[in-house]
Structures are given as structure tokens and as C-alpha cells.
């Protein structure tokens, strides 16, 4: 293809061989350790304080490293993991319903549409059980049964009840657990916390990640912080679409700056569109709100059978409704995985049967569940979600069915990492949503929390020690090192450049337009023509951005427009790479659906012969990225056409 070149394949992922269930155990034994006395002399930078970053920083500090932690929010407790609603998977098999580590592994590989690395996923399933123990010990108030034991529920496409939860606020409770562990270490002086700081550049010395350049968002001061290793836990890039369920501040800058410095970016086109979000209400829309997927356990999804049916939902008789998920997917019904539910909603709306003022919505109806279980039972399960829906829409979902529509929610792609969660830059580790590792082309519900905490509590602290022990004492470097000075100068120049444009359009207006291009052409359905058009449009708009954006104020103090401008500038570059990745992947898999590649009945058509690999992109600076392929082999879970019928 004309837009990229192909480089060497990735030869080594450092994944151990042997039986999959022994790999992590053996690797843990084989990895080197850092003597406790030496840990005190080592500094680790952790960017981001969500489930992955918060748990990693706390754990590394407990082990004795000097940790410097950074977040853009005013407190580490506000990272966007806090908004996760549904739950966290773990292979505890407390229900005796046939769950096991192997089944969680199997479901995750299959759910990811055979585009993830088996060894990583198995490790994730193994440590899932430790996560629940850890969180309970921290005082996380999970939902419990009357006997005092933990309650679980089934979630998003799983046929076992392995999802632990804390009402509709599981992310909040898990994050506060990690945050409290982190605050304890801050109080003990083992972590230096830098809230309202944004990482704007990575510093490499002799090819290793040795520091970051950060901006103090309150004073505007730019500083360079050096360390023995850098951990990015900076989350996903869903906000490239402008409208998403991400928090407004979520951004790709930390990852993208690392990418520009040599870290490969893997599978950027794999984005998860969540099927149950509140539909857009107008041009002023600034973000989309997720309604937990758990609602699909009791709600039934439908649209009118007739096109353009304008009657209120309660006036549409049963036989004139199309419960299309139950019709098309009788064995999974309303619980089909996210990618499938989202595309089905798009299809019925595209066929003119969507509901609500914009026609971009489907009903999620609780009338049957309320009749069967009673209003009180529904209130106990979903009360807070129903209230949230009513606050936003002004409609009472106990009386009128909810209207929902898919929205960008999570990004499976991210910086490429090996089995040790180390990127292609030595000393740069990437954890949580920021990496690409465990979810393949589609993430299962309640698996993001699991992965964030697995990486932060149980995986990274081991593999990072191995890196530090293996690389021997690194040269002492400080902010006056020429590489550090150069990185800092780049940051300062970029800020000056953004402030100097003083054009006639706001940052948000560009961001919104970029989001529309991406949603239209790189959203739920992609095609060659659409993606090529998108790439042209993105390039043209990016050029406009650098000529016409207006960033008021200066760089000296709190300047929210400047923060946004830097992030949007990086989104522009990422957007192009996402489209190139989507264009090159001539197959449909998981969250990546190419119109040209579908089965006769409209399901995703994978092409395992050509595309059973991870696409890891190298930045070259010339505009033409280089593709490095990591071949995926499946020894345990054999690729099949995913079927939820």
C-alpha cells in the first residue's frame, strides 16, 4: 500500500514457551530480583494514577523503590478508571458454574476475536483471583450475599457468573482502594505525587527511557524529571473521536510522545464502541454517558418493526416490535458481546427503524423485568443508573424504555509491549489501557478493571525489577544531559508555536470536526474509500489547525485552552495512523469491521491466513509509518468464526 512501508517482523516477545499454565510461574522464577537495599537507590516514574498506574505506584513504593507519580487531574483519585460501572472478572468459580482460569483465558482470547497473545491472556486469567483477594483486604465494599460471601453476576457475553461488583460503581471502589494504598505510600514519603502535571515528552538517554518532561498545569513551569525507568499508565485514546464515554481530559499525549520517540504503536484501529450509551441530544454535546452493560441482563433491546414508526413506545404492540438481538442471536440474545450489539444497533438505525428525535437510538426496555421481579428488585440492582438516565434525559426509565445508542468507549490498541509489558524502548513500560496487550480486537465487559489491576499489582512490579536488575547500575543522569535539554526545548517550542498562531478557530471546533471524520469513517464500520477520504480530510484539517487555531492567554499559569491544544495536536497525528491501520487490515475482527469483509449474513469475516498478527507501527517522522508484524500463534484456543447465534 502507498501509505506505509513494511519493516522487519517482531522476532521476540519474551513470552516463555512450554505449557501455557506454567509460563508465568516459570518466568517469575527466572526473572532477576533487585536487592531490597538497592531498590531505595532506584527511581521509577509512573505517569497516570488510574487502576494500573495507581496500583503500580503503590506496589513499587511498598517494595522500596523511589516513585514519582504524575496525573493531570487535581488528585490521583479522579483518574477515569473511577467511572467504570459494571464489574471486574475473576476466575474464582465461587458459583461452581464451571468457571476456571482456563475458561476465563479461553473466553478472553475468543472474545478478542483471536487477535491477542495467548501467553499474556493466560497470565491475566491466573492473577485475576489474586486481585479480588487484594481488593477485599483493602476494604473494597464489594456486593455480598446474605451469608456474607461475595456476590457475582454474569456480564457482557459470559455464560458464567464471574463478575464481582460494587453496585454500579465498581471502578470507583477499586480505584479508591488503589488510591488509598498510594496515599499511604505518599504519607510515608515513598511516593512523590505530582497532581495537575502533564507529561509532554519522553527523555531517552543511550536508547533507554530515562525521564519525562512535564508541565505544571498550575504554574506553567516546565521541568525535566529523570529516573531509572518510566512507566506509562496514561489510559486510552477514545477521545480522538471527540465524543466518547471517556473523561474530557483523557488524551493520547503521553503515549504519542513515546511513540514519536520510538515506541511502537500496536493495533490503533481496534476501538470498542459500547452499545449502551445515552444518545446524542444536540450540537452542544460534550461527552457521552455510558449506561452499564449490566442493564442488558434484564433489559430487552428492541425497535419498531416498521420504518419511521413515530408512536410512543408504550403504544407499539408486542407483535409490532423487533427484539432484534433475541431474533438474530437466540442463544446469547441481549447479552451478545459489545461489538456485535453495537453493529446490530447501527444496522437497524441505518435501515430507518431507529427511535428518538435523531433516529439514532434503540429501546432498552425494562417493562418485562419490572413485571417479573418487581420494581423494588430493579431499583436495588440499577437504581443509580436509572437516576442518572433521568437526570440527563428528563425521562423516567421505570415508565418509558431507555433510549440507547453505541458510543466510543475503550481502545484495545495502544503502545506495543512484550510479555514483560516493556515497549520497544528499553526501560519504558506501558500498563493498563495504554498498552495493547490482552484484549485483542475486542475487550470483554469487566475485563478492563481486571487488566489494569493485574498489570499494576502483579505483573509490572516483577518484570520491572527484572529490567532494573538485568540492566545493571545505569549511569546517573540529570536534567542537564543534552538529551534531556533537547526534549525540554522541544516542549517549550511547541507551546510557543501553539500560542503564537492566534487564529480564528477554537481548539474544540477542530477537535469536534476531527471527531466527526473519525466517527464517520473509522467508527463502527470502515471501508477503503471512506478511510482514504478520512486520511485526506485529517491531513487537510491538521494543516488548518496549525494555521488557524486560537489559544488565548500565555503559558505561564493555568491555561486550559493550551492543554487542550497540545492534546488535539497529538490526536491529529494518531487519527491518521488509526486510519492507515484500519485500511491495511483487510479483514473484519472484533471492533474493526470492514464493510468489504463480512460473511453472507453480515458478521465479521476474519482472514487468519493474512492477518493473524499484531500490527506494530514505528514512527519515522516522514509521514510514512513502518509496519512491524508480530505473528500470533494459537496453541490452545483454536481460531473459529465467533458465533453467538
Amino acid at each position: 500500500m502507498d501509505l506505509y512501508t513494511e519493516g522487519d517482523p517482531i522476532a521476540d516477545t519474551r513470552a516463555p514457551d512450554g505449557p501455557v499454565e506454567t509460563r508465568w510461574e516459570r518466568h517469575r522464577f527466572e526473572m532477576k530480583l533487585v536487592n531490597p537495599a538497592n531498590r531505595r537507590k532506584m527511581t521509577v516514574i509512573v505517569v497516570g494514577t488510574g487502576l494500573a498506574g495507581g496500583s503500580a505506584a503503590a506496589t513499587l513504593a511498598e517494595q522500596g523503590y523511589q516513585v514519582r507519580s504524575y496525573c493531570y487531574q487535581d488528585s490521583p483519585r479522579r483518574a477515569h478508571s473511577i467511572a467504570a460501572q459494571g464489574g471486574i472478572n475473576a476466575a474464582k468459580n465461587y458459583r461452581n458454574d464451571g468457571d476456571s482460569v482456563h475458561r476465563l483465558f479461553y473466553d478472553t482470547v475468543k472474545g478478542g476475536d483471536f487477535r491477542s497473545r495467548e501467553s499474556n491472556v493466560h497470565r491475566l486469567a491466573e492473577v485475576s483471583v489474586n486481585i479480588i483477594d487484594q481488593c477485599v483486604a483493602q476494604g473494597v465494599p464489594f456486593a455480598r450475599e446474605y451469608g456474607g460471601l461475595l456476590d457475582t453476576r454474569s456480564f457482557g457475553g459470559a455464560q458464567v457468573q464471574r463478575t464481582f461488583y460494587a453496585r454500579g460503581q465498581t471502578g470507583q471502589q477499586l480505584l479508591l482502594g488503589a488510591y488509598q494504598a498510594l496515599e499511604r505510600q505518599i504519607g510515608l514519603g515513598n511516593v512523590e505525587m505530582n497532581a495537575r502535571h502533564e507529561m509532554l515528552e519522553l527523555v531517552l538517554v543511550d536508547g533507554r527511557a530515562r525521564g519525562i518532561v512535564v508541565r505544571d498545569m498550575v504554574t506553567g513551569e516546565i521541568s525535566t524529571e529523570m529516573a531509572d525507568a518510566v512507566v506509562l499508565a496514561s489510559g486510552g485514546y477514545g477521545n480522538v473521536f471527540y465524543l466518547s464515554t471517556n473523561a474530557k481530559g483523557c488524551n493520547v499525549t503521553a503515549s504519542w510522545r513515546a511513540h514519536r520517540k520510538g515506541a511502537y504503536f500496536a493495533n490503533p484501529c481496534y476501538t470498542q464502541i459500547h452499545p449502551t450509551c445515552i444518545p446524542v441530544s444536540g450540537d452542544h454535546q460534550s461527552k457521552l454517558t455510558l449506561m452499564s452493560e449490566s442493564l442488558r441482563n434484564d433489559g430487552r433491546v428492541w425497535v419498531p418493526k416498521a420504518k419511521g414508526d413515530q408512536r410512543s413506545p408504550r403504544e407499539i404492540p408486542e407483535d409490532e416490535r423487533d427484539y432484534y438481538l433475541e431474533r438474530i442471536y437466540p442463544s446469547f440474545g441481549n447479552l451478545v458481546p459489545r461489538d456485535i450489539a453495537s453493529r446490530a444497533a447501527k444496522n437497524v438505525c441505518d435501515s430507518g427503524r431507529g427511535v428518538g428525535p435523531t433516529g439514532l437510538g434503540v429501546y432498552l426496555d425494562f417493562a418485562d423485568a419490572i413485571n417479573r421481579l418487581g420494581r423494588k428488585a430493579i431499583e436495588a440492582k440499577y437504581g443509580n443508573l436509572f437516576e442518572m438516565y433521568e437526570r440527563i434525559t428528563g425521562e423516567d426509565p421505570y415508565e418509558v424504555p431507555m433510549r440507547i445508542y453505541p458510543a466510543v468507549h475503550y481502545t484495545m490498541g495502544g503502545l506495543w509491549v512484550d510479555y514483560d509489558l516493556q515497549s520497544s524502548i528499553p526501560g519504558l513500560f506501558v500498563i493498563g489501557e495504554a498498552n495493547f496487550s490482552d484484549h485483542g480486537a475486542n475487550r470483554l465487559g469487566a475485563s478492563a478493571l481486571m487488566q489494569g489491576l493485574a498489570d499494576g499489582y502483579f505483573v509490572l512490579p516483577n518484570t520491572l525489577a527484572n529490567y532494573l536488575a538485568s540492566s545493571g547500575p545505569l549511569d546517573k543522569v540529570d536534567a542537564s544531559h543534552p538529551e534531556a535539554v533537547a526534549a525540554r526545548t522541544e516542549v517549550e517550542d511547541r507551546i510557543k508555536r501553539l500560542l503564537a498562531i492566534n487564529g480564528d478557530r477554537t481548539v474544540d471546533s477542530f477537535h469536534r470536526e476531527l471527531g466527526q471524520i473519525m466517527w464517520e469513517h473509522c467508527g463502527m464500520e470502515r471501508s477503503e474509500a471512506g478511510l482514504r477520504k478520512a486520511i485526506d480530510e485529517i491531513r487537510a484539517l491538521r494543516e488548518q489547525f496549525w494555521q488557524r487555531v486560537r489559544v488565548p492567554g500565555d503559558g505561564e499559569g493555568l491555561n486550559q485552552s493550551l492543554e487542550k491544544a497540545g492534546r488535539v495536536a497529538d490526536f491529529f497525528e494518531l487519527a491518521e495512523l488509526m486510519c492507515i491501520d484500519a485500511l491495511h487490515r483487510e479483514e473484519s475482527c472484533g471492533g474493526h469491521f470492514r464493510a468489504e469483509h463480512q460473511t453472507p449474513d453480515g458478521e465479521a469475516q476474519r482472514d487468519d491466513d493474512r492477518f493473524a498478527y499484531v500490527a506494530a507501527w514505528e514512527y519515522t517522522g516522514t509521514g510514512e509509518p513502518v509496519l512491524h508484524k508480530e505473528d500470533l500463534t494459537f496453541e490452545y484456543v483454536h481460531p473459529t468464526q465467533r458465533s453467538y447465534k
Binding site: E62, H80, E183, R184, S561
Partner: protein
């Protein structure tokens, strides 16, 4: 709707600050309160003015970042609702709306509507945790927790740390925030070993950070967007009393 906004503008911590009036037109009732401010900010930028700085992030009522005093009420007129979830259908055409930052000694203004709430983190760092280093946890089912206790703990754990309680309190007290964490952890078996050192540590940190004392006015609980009950403060006081008695006895 057409509205008149009177908004607190303050260049930085040293600036005295003032209310500035902004008329806004064609506000849709489906907009969120923050989306209305977004629209105003877009206009200010194009008019060559500095946009209004305000804190926000998740915009779904859970991160606790948004922090606006709206017509003298923390998070505005709708009960149980953060400013980011407040929608303009709660207001009427022609309304004048005052928008100010949290005002409390422990929360100094950074700029415009943005305040520094680092004091809350200091309270948590002084004991708002269970000491459970990674990897040391027993099997999760080894200690059952009665459902009623788990549910009550959850109710307190739902605090989002926004600071509305402090902003609403005439004394600028952070007792509801502190008590919510104390209550959560003292209801759970995992929180027992550190129960009394925790309460002393956290209350001391609260006082050192410049929060006022609690005089049982109750404005905090009625302003709390998550409905943290006032009786959590009673629980804190009981634990504090026991803790000081223990300390005196030892």
C-alpha cells in the same frame, strides 16, 4: 432560553477577584450546565477574551472534579446531582445565575472557579486506608462480611471527594468527607486493626489542613451529591472519643 450569568473571575491566587456578568442566548434545556459554560467559553475565545477556568473531567458525576457554587448552592439546585450532571431544564428563561468557586480556607482558589483540594488527599494519606501490601492478602472468602455491613460501608464509600460538604458548611469543615472514609473502614472487619489510630490521624490531618470544626449544622449532608448521611459524623465522633480514651489509658 436566555440567561444572565454572573461568574467569579480571579486571575490567580493573589488576585482579589470579582463577579463579571455574561448574558447567554439560546441555551437548550437539554444542555448540561457545563456544556452551557463550554458554549460561553467558545464565544469568549473568539471575542479575544480569556475563557473561564473551571474543573471538570468525567462529566458523569463520579470523578468529583467539578466544583461549582451555583446560586449559593454547592453543585446547584438539584438534590443528589453534581454540577456536571445538572441540566439546563432545571432553570427558566430569564434567570440570573451566580457561579462561584468553592469557598473555604482549606481550598484556596487557583484561578476563576478552580480551587486546590489537595487537603483532602492529605487527610486520606494520614490514615484513610487499610494497610494491606500487595500480595499479602488472604483468600477473599476467608472473612465473611454481613451484607448489611457491606451495604452500609458502600454507602459511605460512595463519596466522590468533590468538597461540596466543605463548601456548604458555614465553618468550612471537612468532617463529612473524613467521616465517610472512617465509617466505611470501621464497618468492615478489614478496617478493625487500624480503627483507632486511623481516626486520630485523619482528624489531626483535617484540623492541620485548615478545615473548620463541625458544629452539627448538617448543610454538608444536604449538599452532598452522593447522599452521604450526617450520622457518619456521629460514628466518627464515637470512634474518636474511644481512640482518645485508649490513648489516655495507654
Amino acid at each position: 432560553m436566555n440567561l444572565t450569568l454572573r461568574i467569579w473571575r480571579q486571575h490567580g491566587p493573589e488576585d482579589k477577584g470579582r463577579m463579571v456578568t455574561y448574558p447567554v442566548q439560546d441555551v437548550s434545556p437539554d444542555m448540561s450546565f457545563l456544556e452551557m459554560l463550554d458554549v460561553l467559553n467558545e464565544r469568549l475565545i473568539l471575542d479575544g477574551e480569556e475563557p473561564i477556568a473551571f474543573d471538570h473531567d468525567c462529566r458523569e458525576g463520579i470523578c468529583g472534579m467539578c466544583s461549582l457554587m451555583i446560586n449559593g448552592e454547592a453543585h446547584g439546585p438539584q438534590r443528589g446531582t453534581t454540577a456536571c450532571q445538572l441540566h439546563m431544564r432545571q432553570f427558566s428563561d430569564g434567570d440570573t445565575i451566580d457561579i462561584e468557586p468553592w469557598r473555604a480556607r482549606a481550598f484556596p482558589v487557583v484561578k476563576d472557579l478552580v480551587v486546590n483540594r489537595n487537603a483532602f488527599d492529605q487527610i486520606i494519606a494520614a490514615g484513610g486506608y487499610v494497610t494491606a501490601p500487595t500480595g499479602s492478602a488472604p483468600e477473599a472468602h476467608s472473612v465473611p462480611v454481613p451484607k448489611a455491613d457491606a451495604d452500609a460501608a458502600f454507602e459511605s464509600a460512595a463519596c466522590i471527594g468533590c468538597g461540596a460538604c466543605v463548601a456548604a458548611c458555614p465553618n468550612g469543615s471537612g468532617m463529612l468527607f473524613t467521616a465517610a472514609k472512617i465509617t466505611q473502614l470501621s464497618l468492615l472487619p478489614q478496617g478493625q486493626p487500624e480503627r483507632y489510630t486511623r481516626v486520630i490521624g485523619m482528624v489531626d490531618a483535617h484540623d492541620e489542613a485548615g478545615f473548620g470544626g463541625c458544629t452539627n449544622i448538617g448543610e454538608c449532608a444536604s449538599a452532598c451529591p452522593k447522599g452521604i448521611p450526617l450520622n457518619t459524623i456521629g460514628r466518627l465522633n464515637r470512634d474518636y472519643l474511644k481512640a482518645t480514651a485508649k490513648r489516655a489509658g495507654s
